[in-house]
Amino acid sequence: MADDLNRIRNILDSHRRQLLARANVVATGIGYKQTGGAKTETLCIVCSVKKKVPASQLSSQDLVPAAVDGSATDVVQTGVIRALQAPTDRFRPAPGGVSVGHVAITAGTLGCWVTKNGQKVILSNNHVLANSNDAEIGDAILQPGPYDGGGFPQDHIANLTQFVPISFQGETSDCQFANAVVSIFNLGCRIIGSSTRYKATNIQAQENRVDAAIATPLNADDVKDEILNIGPIAGTVSGELGMAIKKSGRTTGFTTGEIQQVDVTANVQYGAGQIAVFTDQLLAGAMSQGGDSGSAVVDDNNRLTGLLFAGSDTTTIINRIENVFSALGVSL
Protein backbone atom coordinates (compact mmCIF):
# COMPACT_ATOMS: atom_id res chain seq x y z
CA MET A 1 0.00 0.00 0.00
CA ALA A 2 2.72 2.45 0.98
CA ASP A 3 4.49 1.43 -2.23
CA ASP A 4 1.32 2.20 -4.18
CA LEU A 5 1.02 5.57 -2.51
CA ASN A 6 4.62 6.51 -3.29
CA ARG A 7 4.32 5.30 -6.86
CA ILE A 8 1.13 7.35 -7.44
CA ARG A 9 2.67 10.35 -5.67
CA ASN A 10 5.49 10.30 -8.20
CA ILE A 11 3.09 9.94 -11.11
CA LEU A 12 0.98 12.81 -9.80
CA ASP A 13 4.08 15.00 -9.36
CA SER A 14 4.89 14.70 -13.03
CA HIS A 15 1.31 15.08 -14.27
CA ARG A 16 -0.19 17.62 -11.85
CA ARG A 17 0.28 20.59 -14.14
CA GLN A 18 -1.30 19.04 -17.20
CA LEU A 19 -4.25 17.71 -15.14
CA LEU A 20 -4.90 21.13 -13.53
CA ALA A 21 -4.78 22.71 -16.99
CA ARG A 22 -7.86 20.76 -18.08
CA ALA A 23 -11.25 22.48 -18.10
CA ASN A 24 -13.12 22.39 -14.77
CA VAL A 25 -10.30 20.73 -12.80
CA VAL A 26 -9.77 22.70 -9.57
CA ALA A 27 -7.64 20.28 -7.51
CA THR A 28 -5.66 17.05 -7.74
CA GLY A 29 -4.82 14.59 -5.00
CA ILE A 30 -4.56 10.91 -4.09
CA GLY A 31 -7.48 8.92 -2.71
CA TYR A 32 -9.45 5.68 -2.96
CA LYS A 33 -11.37 5.37 -6.19
CA GLN A 34 -15.13 5.55 -5.85
CA THR A 35 -17.22 3.38 -8.12
CA GLY A 36 -20.99 3.79 -8.18
CA GLY A 37 -20.81 5.90 -5.02
CA ALA A 38 -18.91 3.22 -3.03
CA LYS A 39 -15.29 3.41 -1.96
CA THR A 40 -13.00 0.76 -3.51
CA GLU A 41 -9.59 -0.49 -2.37
CA THR A 42 -7.84 1.09 -5.35
CA LEU A 43 -5.65 4.12 -4.73
CA CYS A 44 -5.86 6.59 -7.58
CA ILE A 45 -5.33 10.18 -8.68
CA VAL A 46 -8.45 12.15 -7.78
CA CYS A 47 -9.26 15.17 -9.93
CA SER A 48 -11.75 17.54 -8.30
CA VAL A 49 -13.85 19.44 -10.83
CA LYS A 50 -16.15 22.45 -10.69
CA LYS A 51 -18.80 20.46 -12.50
CA LYS A 52 -18.95 16.93 -13.91
CA VAL A 53 -19.55 17.06 -17.65
CA PRO A 54 -20.31 14.05 -19.93
CA ALA A 55 -17.15 12.90 -21.77
CA SER A 56 -18.92 13.52 -25.09
CA GLN A 57 -19.05 17.26 -24.33
CA LEU A 58 -15.33 17.58 -23.65
CA SER A 59 -12.49 17.88 -26.12
CA SER A 60 -9.82 15.17 -25.77
CA GLN A 61 -7.33 17.58 -24.18
CA ASP A 62 -9.89 18.53 -21.46
CA LEU A 63 -11.01 14.99 -20.69
CA VAL A 64 -9.32 13.47 -17.61
CA PRO A 65 -7.86 10.18 -18.90
CA ALA A 66 -9.06 6.96 -17.24
CA ALA A 67 -5.44 6.22 -16.26
CA VAL A 68 -2.17 8.16 -16.12
CA ASP A 69 1.11 6.20 -16.39
CA GLY A 70 -0.58 3.14 -14.91
CA SER A 71 -2.41 4.95 -12.08
CA ALA A 72 -6.20 4.93 -12.23
CA THR A 73 -7.96 8.32 -11.98
CA ASP A 74 -11.24 9.42 -10.51
CA VAL A 75 -13.24 12.60 -11.13
CA VAL A 76 -15.16 14.12 -8.21
CA GLN A 77 -17.36 17.19 -8.32
CA THR A 78 -16.48 19.65 -5.54
CA GLY A 79 -17.55 22.97 -7.05
CA VAL A 80 -15.33 26.04 -7.04
CA ILE A 81 -12.88 26.00 -4.15
CA ARG A 82 -12.58 29.34 -2.37
CA ALA A 83 -10.38 30.48 0.46
CA LEU A 84 -12.62 30.51 3.52
CA GLN A 85 -12.32 33.80 5.31
CA ALA A 86 -14.34 34.42 8.45
CA PRO A 87 -16.27 37.70 8.74
CA THR A 88 -14.24 38.40 11.88
CA ASP A 89 -10.99 38.47 9.88
CA ARG A 90 -9.18 41.51 8.53
CA PHE A 91 -10.29 42.36 4.98
CA ARG A 92 -8.55 44.80 2.60
CA PRO A 93 -10.36 45.84 0.58
CA ALA A 94 -13.28 45.39 3.01
CA PRO A 95 -16.73 44.32 1.81
CA GLY A 96 -20.01 44.61 3.73
CA GLY A 97 -20.79 41.79 6.17
CA VAL A 98 -17.47 41.88 8.07
CA SER A 99 -16.45 42.90 11.58
CA VAL A 100 -16.05 46.62 12.25
CA GLY A 101 -16.25 48.93 15.23
CA HIS A 102 -15.43 52.19 16.97
CA VAL A 103 -12.24 51.89 19.05
CA ALA A 104 -14.27 51.88 22.30
CA ILE A 105 -16.77 49.11 21.42
CA THR A 106 -16.57 45.29 21.00
CA ALA A 107 -17.52 44.63 17.37
CA GLY A 108 -20.41 45.01 14.98
CA THR A 109 -20.92 44.60 11.27
CA LEU A 110 -19.89 46.80 8.36
CA GLY A 111 -23.27 46.98 6.61
CA CYS A 112 -22.31 48.17 3.17
CA TRP A 113 -20.71 51.05 1.32
CA VAL A 114 -22.95 54.03 0.51
CA THR A 115 -22.26 57.42 -1.07
CA LYS A 116 -22.03 60.72 0.82
CA ASN A 117 -21.06 63.84 -1.16
CA GLY A 118 -19.71 61.68 -3.99
CA GLN A 119 -17.52 59.59 -1.68
CA LYS A 120 -17.96 55.96 -0.61
CA VAL A 121 -18.45 55.64 3.17
CA ILE A 122 -19.11 52.77 5.58
CA LEU A 123 -22.74 52.43 6.70
CA SER A 124 -23.43 50.76 10.04
CA ASN A 125 -25.21 51.54 13.32
CA ASN A 126 -24.61 54.46 15.65
CA HIS A 127 -23.92 51.90 18.42
CA VAL A 128 -21.25 50.25 16.24
CA LEU A 129 -19.49 53.28 14.72
CA ALA A 130 -20.33 55.96 17.32
CA ASN A 131 -20.47 54.01 20.57
CA SER A 132 -24.18 54.87 21.21
CA ASN A 133 -23.68 58.69 20.97
CA ASP A 134 -20.49 58.53 23.08
CA ALA A 135 -18.06 59.44 20.31
CA GLU A 136 -16.51 62.41 18.55
CA ILE A 137 -16.59 63.01 14.82
CA GLY A 138 -13.23 61.84 13.48
CA ASP A 139 -12.87 58.93 15.95
CA ALA A 140 -11.04 55.87 14.59
CA ILE A 141 -13.04 52.95 13.20
CA LEU A 142 -11.29 49.56 13.18
CA GLN A 143 -11.74 46.57 10.84
CA PRO A 144 -11.93 44.03 12.36
CA GLY A 145 -13.54 45.52 15.48
CA PRO A 146 -11.59 45.53 18.80
CA TYR A 147 -13.23 42.27 20.03
CA ASP A 148 -11.96 40.48 16.92
CA GLY A 149 -8.39 41.63 17.48
CA GLY A 150 -8.61 44.91 15.60
CA GLY A 151 -6.03 47.37 16.92
CA PHE A 152 -5.01 50.98 16.40
CA PRO A 153 -3.35 52.03 14.17
CA GLN A 154 -2.77 48.85 12.16
CA ASP A 155 -6.48 48.09 11.60
CA HIS A 156 -7.66 51.70 11.43
CA ILE A 157 -9.82 51.71 8.27
CA ALA A 158 -11.99 54.82 8.58
CA ASN A 159 -12.97 57.82 10.67
CA LEU A 160 -16.44 58.50 12.07
CA THR A 161 -18.08 61.14 9.84
CA GLN A 162 -21.67 61.44 11.04
CA PHE A 163 -24.17 59.73 13.33
CA VAL A 164 -27.87 60.09 14.07
CA PRO A 165 -28.10 60.59 17.85
CA ILE A 166 -30.19 57.98 19.67
CA SER A 167 -32.71 59.43 22.12
CA PHE A 168 -32.86 57.30 25.27
CA GLN A 169 -35.65 57.27 27.85
CA GLY A 170 -34.92 59.15 31.06
CA GLU A 171 -32.11 61.18 29.51
CA THR A 172 -31.40 64.75 30.46
CA SER A 173 -33.77 66.78 28.37
CA ASP A 174 -32.57 69.11 25.65
CA CYS A 175 -35.98 70.82 25.66
CA GLN A 176 -35.28 74.53 26.27
CA PHE A 177 -38.69 75.16 27.78
CA ALA A 178 -38.38 72.30 30.27
CA ASN A 179 -34.89 73.40 31.21
CA ALA A 180 -36.09 77.01 31.70
CA VAL A 181 -38.89 75.83 33.99
CA VAL A 182 -36.41 73.73 35.93
CA SER A 183 -34.00 76.66 36.37
CA ILE A 184 -36.84 78.69 37.89
CA PHE A 185 -37.63 75.81 40.29
CA ASN A 186 -33.98 75.55 41.24
CA LEU A 187 -33.75 79.30 41.75
CA GLY A 188 -36.78 78.96 44.07
CA CYS A 189 -35.02 76.17 45.94
CA ARG A 190 -31.93 78.32 46.42
CA ILE A 191 -34.03 81.24 47.67
CA ILE A 192 -35.80 79.12 50.29
CA GLY A 193 -32.51 77.54 51.25
CA SER A 194 -33.42 74.04 50.12
CA SER A 195 -30.63 71.84 48.81
CA THR A 196 -33.05 70.10 46.45
CA ARG A 197 -32.31 70.62 42.76
CA TYR A 198 -34.40 69.52 39.80
CA LYS A 199 -33.31 68.19 36.42
CA ALA A 200 -35.48 67.94 33.30
CA THR A 201 -35.49 64.44 31.83
CA ASN A 202 -37.27 62.82 28.90
CA ILE A 203 -39.84 60.51 30.45
CA GLN A 204 -41.23 59.74 27.04
CA ALA A 205 -38.09 60.05 25.01
CA GLN A 206 -38.18 61.31 21.48
CA GLU A 207 -38.91 58.48 19.10
CA ASN A 208 -36.07 57.12 17.02
CA ARG A 209 -36.32 55.81 13.49
CA VAL A 210 -32.75 54.77 12.89
CA ASP A 211 -29.61 53.60 14.68
CA ALA A 212 -27.22 54.72 11.96
CA ALA A 213 -23.81 56.24 11.32
CA ILE A 214 -21.25 56.56 8.55
CA ALA A 215 -17.45 56.55 8.47
CA THR A 216 -15.09 57.75 5.74
CA PRO A 217 -12.28 55.38 4.70
CA LEU A 218 -8.68 56.57 5.02
CA ASN A 219 -7.89 54.95 1.67
CA ALA A 220 -10.31 54.57 -1.26
CA ASP A 221 -8.52 51.30 -2.18
CA ASP A 222 -9.98 49.70 0.96
CA VAL A 223 -13.52 49.92 -0.43
CA LYS A 224 -15.01 46.68 -1.76
CA ASP A 225 -18.44 47.74 -2.91
CA GLU A 226 -20.29 44.47 -2.30
CA ILE A 227 -21.45 42.31 0.59
CA LEU A 228 -19.62 39.14 1.65
CA ASN A 229 -21.61 36.03 0.57
CA ILE A 230 -24.24 38.23 -1.10
CA GLY A 231 -22.46 40.23 -3.82
CA PRO A 232 -23.09 43.72 -5.19
CA ILE A 233 -26.21 45.65 -4.11
CA ALA A 234 -28.74 46.08 -6.95
CA GLY A 235 -30.69 49.16 -5.85
CA THR A 236 -33.06 49.76 -2.95
CA VAL A 237 -36.58 48.57 -2.19
CA SER A 238 -39.12 49.50 0.47
CA GLY A 239 -39.66 46.65 2.96
CA GLU A 240 -43.10 45.03 2.84
CA LEU A 241 -44.96 42.40 4.82
CA GLY A 242 -44.00 38.90 3.66
CA MET A 243 -40.86 39.99 1.78
CA ALA A 244 -38.05 37.39 1.76
CA ILE A 245 -34.84 38.95 3.07
CA LYS A 246 -31.22 38.02 3.73
CA LYS A 247 -28.20 39.48 5.45
CA SER A 248 -24.51 38.81 5.94
CA GLY A 249 -23.19 39.64 9.41
CA ARG A 250 -20.12 39.38 11.62
CA THR A 251 -21.53 36.74 14.01
CA THR A 252 -24.07 34.55 12.21
CA GLY A 253 -22.80 35.14 8.65
CA PHE A 254 -25.30 34.66 5.85
CA THR A 255 -28.88 34.13 7.07
CA THR A 256 -32.33 34.49 5.54
CA GLY A 257 -35.73 35.45 6.87
CA GLU A 258 -39.01 37.13 6.11
CA ILE A 259 -40.53 40.49 7.08
CA GLN A 260 -43.21 39.42 9.56
CA GLN A 261 -44.27 42.86 10.80
CA VAL A 262 -44.13 46.45 9.57
CA ASP A 263 -44.93 49.77 11.31
CA VAL A 264 -43.31 48.30 14.40
CA THR A 265 -42.81 50.42 17.52
CA ALA A 266 -40.30 48.72 19.80
CA ASN A 267 -38.55 49.31 23.14
CA VAL A 268 -34.92 48.38 22.64
CA GLN A 269 -32.37 47.91 25.45
CA TYR A 270 -28.91 49.40 25.06
CA GLY A 271 -26.24 48.09 27.40
CA ALA A 272 -26.38 49.67 30.83
CA GLY A 273 -30.16 49.62 31.26
CA GLN A 274 -30.82 52.34 28.72
CA ILE A 275 -33.97 51.97 26.64
CA ALA A 276 -34.74 53.66 23.34
CA VAL A 277 -38.07 53.65 21.54
CA PHE A 278 -37.97 53.01 17.79
CA THR A 279 -40.88 53.56 15.41
CA ASP A 280 -41.50 52.56 11.77
CA GLN A 281 -39.33 49.44 12.10
CA LEU A 282 -39.38 46.16 10.19
CA LEU A 283 -39.50 42.92 12.21
CA ALA A 284 -38.26 39.51 11.07
CA GLY A 285 -37.74 36.15 12.75
CA ALA A 286 -34.46 34.86 14.18
CA MET A 287 -31.68 35.84 11.78
CA SER A 288 -29.09 37.59 13.93
CA GLN A 289 -27.17 37.69 17.20
CA GLY A 290 -24.94 40.14 19.06
CA GLY A 291 -22.27 41.43 16.67
CA ASP A 292 -24.55 41.30 13.61
CA SER A 293 -25.69 44.88 14.27
CA GLY A 294 -25.13 47.07 11.28
CA SER A 295 -25.75 44.31 8.74
CA ALA A 296 -27.32 45.43 5.49
CA VAL A 297 -30.60 43.62 4.79
CA VAL A 298 -31.45 42.91 1.15
CA ASP A 299 -34.33 41.21 -0.68
CA ASP A 300 -34.13 38.20 -3.03
CA ASN A 301 -32.88 40.46 -5.82
CA ASN A 302 -30.12 41.95 -3.65
CA ARG A 303 -31.94 45.26 -3.33
CA LEU A 304 -31.15 47.03 -0.06
CA THR A 305 -34.19 47.28 2.22
CA GLY A 306 -32.89 47.80 5.76
CA LEU A 307 -30.20 48.18 8.40
CA LEU A 308 -30.27 45.51 11.12
CA PHE A 309 -29.67 46.81 14.66
CA ALA A 310 -31.45 44.83 17.38
CA GLY A 311 -33.22 41.62 18.23
CA SER A 312 -33.80 38.73 20.60
CA ASP A 313 -33.41 34.95 20.23
CA THR A 314 -36.58 34.87 18.12
CA THR A 315 -36.75 38.29 16.57
CA THR A 316 -34.75 40.73 14.47
CA ILE A 317 -35.45 44.49 14.30
CA ILE A 318 -34.47 46.41 11.18
CA ASN A 319 -34.45 50.14 10.31
CA ARG A 320 -36.05 50.99 6.98
CA ILE A 321 -33.31 51.93 4.51
CA GLU A 322 -35.32 54.94 3.25
CA ASN A 323 -35.28 56.36 6.80
CA VAL A 324 -31.54 55.65 7.12
CA PHE A 325 -30.72 57.32 3.81
CA SER A 326 -32.78 60.43 4.54
CA ALA A 327 -31.46 60.80 8.11
CA LEU A 328 -27.84 60.65 6.92
CA GLY A 329 -28.23 62.28 3.49
CA VAL A 330 -26.63 59.30 1.74
CA SER A 331 -27.45 57.19 -1.33
CA LEU A 332 -26.15 53.97 -2.84
Binding site: Q261, V264, Q269, A310, T314, T315, I317
Partner: protein, 94 residues
Protein backbone atom coordinates in the same frame (compact mmCIF):
# COMPACT_ATOMS: atom_id res chain seq x y z
CA UNK B 1 -71.11 31.90 -3.88
CA UNK B 2 -67.80 33.66 -4.34
CA UNK B 3 -69.54 37.03 -4.33
CA UNK B 4 -71.29 36.22 -1.05
CA UNK B 5 -68.04 35.09 0.54
CA UNK B 6 -66.33 38.26 -0.65
CA UNK B 7 -69.14 40.45 0.71
CA UNK B 8 -68.95 38.75 4.10
CA UNK B 9 -65.19 39.18 4.09
CA UNK B 10 -65.52 42.87 3.27
CA UNK B 11 -68.13 43.70 5.87
CA UNK B 12 -66.68 41.59 8.67
CA UNK B 13 -64.40 44.35 10.02
CA UNK B 14 -67.34 46.77 10.14
CA UNK B 15 -69.59 44.31 11.94
CA UNK B 16 -66.95 43.96 14.61
CA UNK B 17 -66.18 47.67 14.91
CA UNK B 18 -65.30 48.87 18.37
CA UNK B 19 -66.97 51.85 20.02
CA UNK B 20 -64.13 54.33 19.73
CA UNK B 21 -63.07 54.13 16.10
CA UNK B 22 -64.59 55.65 12.99
CA UNK B 23 -65.68 53.20 10.27
CA UNK B 24 -62.82 54.28 8.06
CA UNK B 25 -59.98 53.77 10.55
CA UNK B 26 -57.07 51.95 8.93
CA UNK B 27 -55.11 49.34 10.85
CA UNK B 28 -52.24 51.85 10.98
CA UNK B 29 -54.50 54.44 12.64
CA UNK B 30 -55.94 51.93 15.09
CA UNK B 31 -52.46 50.70 16.01
CA UNK B 32 -51.19 54.24 16.47
CA UNK B 33 -54.11 55.10 18.71
CA UNK B 34 -53.50 52.18 21.09
CA UNK B 35 -49.79 51.37 20.97
CA UNK B 36 -48.69 53.77 23.73
CA UNK B 37 -50.96 52.16 26.30
CA UNK B 38 -49.81 48.67 25.27
CA UNK B 39 -46.13 49.67 25.45
CA UNK B 40 -46.74 51.10 28.93
CA UNK B 41 -47.72 47.63 30.18
CA UNK B 42 -44.79 45.89 31.91
CA UNK B 43 -43.10 43.37 29.61
CA UNK B 44 -44.61 44.66 26.36
CA UNK B 45 -41.69 45.36 24.02
CA UNK B 46 -43.23 45.89 20.58
CA UNK B 47 -46.39 46.70 18.67
CA UNK B 48 -46.51 46.18 14.92
CA UNK B 49 -48.64 45.17 11.97
CA UNK B 50 -48.45 41.63 10.63
CA UNK B 51 -50.70 38.77 9.61
CA UNK B 52 -52.82 36.41 11.70
CA UNK B 53 -52.72 32.64 10.91
CA UNK B 54 -55.53 33.14 8.36
CA UNK B 55 -53.53 35.80 6.53
CA UNK B 56 -55.59 38.78 7.74
CA UNK B 57 -53.83 41.98 8.76
CA UNK B 58 -53.42 42.01 12.52
CA UNK B 59 -51.96 44.16 15.27
CA UNK B 60 -49.15 42.16 16.85
CA UNK B 61 -48.07 42.82 20.42
CA UNK B 62 -44.67 41.46 21.43
CA UNK B 63 -44.06 40.37 25.04
CA UNK B 64 -40.74 39.63 26.75
CA UNK B 65 -42.17 36.53 28.40
CA UNK B 66 -45.57 34.88 28.94
CA UNK B 67 -47.59 36.88 31.49
CA UNK B 68 -51.29 35.96 31.80
CA UNK B 69 -52.06 39.07 33.87
CA UNK B 70 -50.70 41.44 31.24
CA UNK B 71 -52.05 39.39 28.35
CA UNK B 72 -55.53 39.71 29.87
CA UNK B 73 -55.25 43.50 29.57
CA UNK B 74 -54.77 43.31 25.81
CA UNK B 75 -58.01 43.04 23.81
CA UNK B 76 -58.38 40.24 21.23
CA UNK B 77 -59.89 42.61 18.68
CA UNK B 78 -59.50 46.38 18.14
CA UNK B 79 -61.82 48.18 15.73
CA UNK B 80 -62.35 44.92 13.87
CA UNK B 81 -58.67 44.09 13.57
CA UNK B 82 -57.37 40.98 15.33
CA UNK B 83 -54.79 41.58 18.05
CA UNK B 84 -52.23 38.81 18.47
CA UNK B 85 -49.73 38.34 21.28
CA UNK B 86 -46.31 36.90 20.48
CA UNK B 87 -43.59 36.09 23.01
CA UNK B 88 -40.45 37.53 21.45
CA UNK B 89 -38.04 37.96 24.37
CA UNK B 90 -36.34 41.23 25.29
CA UNK B 91 -35.06 43.26 22.37
CA UNK B 92 -31.44 44.29 22.66
CA UNK B 93 -29.17 46.36 20.47
CA UNK B 94 -26.90 43.75 18.86
Amino acid sequence: MKAIALTILLITPYLALGDDSPMSASIQEVKKQHEARFLDLPGVVSVGIGLDPKGNQAIIVGLEAPNPEIEAKIPKVLAGFPVIIRIIGSLKAQ
